[in-house]
């Protein structure tokens, strides 16, 4: 279709989606092979990831080129905004499943295991508490025969990480103000600071995991506490890495002179995503680390 500003931009046929589909099939096959100890699984997974990265580079590159050449009108811009909002909504629902598991275990299933007939039938010595074990308390970690572990305290690294992420939310907003005022150096510096804070967060989180595995005995296998701990913080950490990559892309685009004060959905979409990651972390800090 034409690039006429009045008509909605309809892209020509694209081969990127099928590349993306094949990437996901390859990645899924790789993981399936790995967890079932079939050889070449790791290579297959890596190949899938490589195809996916190629697809993202090509697809997003095409969108960026179309955007910079002025093919998108206000209505297209709104479609992107709506699409991104609902995508973030679906991410919230994804995390809700794991928060649901956490609350279910803490409020219902662990107390049930430590009371009434269930306890008498299964593990009469089990004392229900959360975290399912803590130092100095005489009880097994889970109801079964799991090794002891120490839960992760809230006021060390996690508190620092909370500060890092909250600050990064502020710096990305500061960068946004720079973009609106057409102060390009404020935009670039703000984004740079945001990425630095994000990387600091990831490094500290990696250190925390290492500490948990080597010194605290806190692993994925450490009962329902370890499972919910690593699942929630792990998926969050994965989203932080994704968000950091997205921030890096818009930093490069900003340095290339992309985005205008009145049209910069690419920037805003990433900023929304970053705030979403931030809010999820606050939930994690309160319900996984602190309370």
């Amino acid at each position: 279709m034409s690039g006429n500003k009045d008509s909605y931009y309809l892209p020509t046929p694209s081969h990127w989606p099928i590349v993306g589909s094949l990437a996901l099939l390859t990645m899924a096959s790789g993981v399936i092979m790995m967890v079932n100890k079939i050889s070449m699984g790791g290579v297959t997974l890596l190949a899938g990831v490589a195809i996916l990265l190629f697809m993202m580079y090509g697809w997003f590159g095409e969108v960026v080129r179309e955007s910079e050449s002025g093919k998108y009108n206000k209505q297209v811009d709104k479609s992107f905004r709506l699409g991104m909002s609902w995508f973030i909504f679906s991410e919230v629902a994804f995390f809700a499943a794991f928060f649901g598991a956490l609350f279910y275990a803490r409020v219902l299933s662990v107390p049930w295991l430590g009371s009434g007939d269930t306890m008498a039938q299964l593990w009469p010595q089990f004392v229900a508490s959360w975290p399912t074990s803590s130092p100095g308390v005489e009880q097994v970690s889970g109801p079964g025969s799991m090794a002891k572990f120490t839960p992760m305290g809230a006021w060390g690294i996690p508190a620092i990480n909370t500060l890092l992420l909250l600050t990064s939310g502020a710096t990305v907003t500061w960068a946004h103000w720079g973009l609106i005022k057409n102060n390009r150096s404020q935009l670039v510096i703000g984004l740079f600071m945001t990425i630095a804070l994000a990387i600091a967060f990831i490094v500290l989180q990696a250190y925390e995991y290492h500490h948990a595995y080597t010194e605290l005995g806190l692993t994925l296998g450490a009962g329902i506490y370890g499972a919910t701990f690593f699942m929630l913080t792990g998926f969050h950490g994965f989203h932080v890495m994704l968000g950091t990559t997205m921030l890096a892309v818009i930093l490069v685009r900003s340095m290339k002179g992309h985005f205008k004060p009145d049209a910069h959905f690419g920037f805003e979409g990433v900023a929304w995503y970053w705030h979403f990651v931030d809010v999820v972390w606050l939930g994690l800090f309160v319900f996984v680390y602190w309370l």
Partner: protein, 522 residues
């Protein structure tokens, strides 16, 4: 109206690459519909295997584990491979046409949403051929049984992930299209009801498909990464999976029926030659059903044990759904009341929908009653119930919609005689197949069992005969579709005398690009 643009027509590659790379909502709608038809026959042939084995008591054709594979994969593939993609196909074709939009809001994403489906199908169908065979723990994938399965369990988990991504992206696209692409003057309360039902369905999908993704991810880590989400030995709880699964699963059953409501609400006014009775109440009823669907999930699991207060709450909340559903049924009947009705194939399927879906709805209320459900849990009564809502509900609506819009899509009228044969044989075969299953369930025959006690023999044989009849009849549908695509009486633009939504203002077949300049709605 400038429906046809000279450029754009030829702007696509030819042959297979046209279909692989297309960003056109009509092409993608067609892809969805054909994919769904293929999966319908695959999962249908699994059902034929089930009915063959149950034709008489004893083990005839297969080992129990094979039988369990058939029931599991029949359920998974029918739900995710046949029914849902068919409705998305309708949405792709009809939503832009009905709101006067040039295409879906995000056309490349639309292509991706479709092309993820064959990848998931490769994993699901392929799982039959790996050591140990396909997943056999039921389509609900309950632990601990599912966790103990083999390689196919992982294939199923990742297939569900890919299907979930497809549904989420597709739904984001539908919501965005409806919110942003309506023609000038097309306010929300002027949208055709089909568009409304898909708007609400897409919202449900975006809300619950990620929850299913979370649930199967926990299954995967429980299987391979030493977590104990669903294992009491680590402080987890297998029942927790059921809660999370049905928090997805109950909205999911409405995802499979709300678009059907939309299709039927388009067809009945056309053939009754009267406007839909109570349009606004239909919209509110649809929204109410969607909201209630989030707070009734545990009625699927009364028998696993829960506090009495919780049972009472879930029982009453479930019964409440009968109110908005009743509003809909009465509105359809009131639309037909004193209408000048004709009974072409779409209308026949739509009327059968109203009657038979209502039977399925009533048995649903029966099953909502806790003491009754404790007796009937996992019996054939439940099987009969959900096939009345899914086959004579969702599937009949899909057939109704296909006959209704085929002339618009292909430019040819379908063969009315064959269509009527398809309807009547389906209608009779369906009832022979599933009505006796109510009696079997009330008498205590359990589901997901390849063999049964002798007293169930007669009804099972009747049911199987109905099953083979229903299955064979569906071949007629394929013949009708192929004949209609290849030729037939030229269809007019309006096709049906009483049809008045926007898609009937453009020529038949619908040009490749429509509404490049949006129509203005008064």
């Amino acid at each position: 109206m400038e429906a046809v643009h000279d450029h754009g027509h030829e702007h696509h590659p030819s042959g297979i690459m046209r279909w692989v790379t297309t960003t056109n909502h009509k092409d993608i709608g067609t892809l969805y519909l054909f994919f769904s038809l293929i999966m319908f026959f695959f999962a249908g042939s699994l059902a034929m295997g089930i009915r063959a084995e149950l034709f008489q008591p004893g083990l005839q054709f297969m080992q129990p584990n094979t039988f369990n594979q058939l029931t599991t994969m029949h359920g998974l593939i029918m739900v995710f491979g046949a029914i849902m993609p068919a409705f998305v196909g309708f949405a792709n074709w009809q939503v832009p046409l009905m709101i006067g939009a040039p295409d879906m809001a995000l056309p490349r994403l639309n292509n991706w949403s479709f092309w993820l489906l064959p990848m998931a199908a490769i994993l699901l169908v392929g799982s039959f051929f790996v050591p140990g065979g396909a997943a056999a723990g039921g389509w609900t994938m309950y632990p601990p049984l599912f966790i103990q399965g083999g390689l196919s369990g992982d294939m199923t988990i990742f297939a569900v992930h890919i299907l979930g991504i497809s549904s989420i992206l597709g739904s984001i696209n539908i919501i965005t299209t409806i919110m942003n692409m309506r023609a000038p003057g097309m306010t929300y309360m002027k949208m055709p009801l089909f568009v409304w039902t898909w708007f609400i369905t897409a919202f449900l999908l975006v809300a619950v498909m990620p929850v299913l993704a979370g649930a199967v991810t926990m299954l995967l880590t429980d299987r391979h990464f030493d977590t104990h989400f669903f294992n009491a030995a680590g402080g987890g709880d297998p029942v927790m999976f059921q809660h999370i699964f049905w928090f997805f699963g109950h909205p999911e059953v409405y995802i499979m029926i709300l678009p059907a409501f939309g299709i039927v609400s388009s067809i009945i006014p056309t053939f009754a030659r009267k406007p839909l009775f109570g349009y606004a109440s239909m919209v509110y009823a649809t929204a109410s059903i969607a909201i209630l669907s989030f707070i009734v999930w545990a009625h699927h699991m009364y028998s696993v044990g829960m506090p009495t207060a919780a049972q009472l709450y879930f029982m009453y909340a479930t019964m409440l759904i009968a109110v908005p559903t009743g509003v809909k049924v009465f509105n359809w009947i009131a639309t037909m009341w004193e209408g000048s009705m004709t009974f072409e194939t779409p209308m026949l399927f739509a009327i059968a929908f109203v009657a038979l879906f209502t039977i399925g709805g009533f048995t649903g209320i029966v099953l909502a009653v806790v003491p009754v459900d404790i007796q009937l849990q996992d019996t054939y009564y439940v099987v009969a119930h959900f096939h009345y809502v899914l086959v004579s509900g969702s599937l009949f609506a899909i057939f109704a919609g296909a006959y209704y819009w085929l002339p618009k899509w292909t430019g040819h009228m379908y063969n009315e005689t064959l269509g009527k044969w398809h309807f009547w044989l389906s209608m009779i075969g369906f009832n022979i197949l599933f009505f006796p299953q109510h009696f079997l369930g009330l008498a205590g025959m359990p589901r997901r069992i390849p063999d049964y006690a002798l007293q169930f023999a007669d009804f099972n044989m009747i049911s199987s005969i109905g099953g083979f009849m229903f299955g064979a009849t569906q071949l007629l549908f394929v013949i009708v579709v192929i004949k209609c695509v290849r030729g037939g009486t030229k269809a007019t633009a309006q096709v049906w005398e009483g049809a008045d939504t926007l898609e009937w203002t453009i020529p038949s077949p619908a040009p490749y690009h429509t509404f490049a300049t949006p129509p203005v709605i008064k």
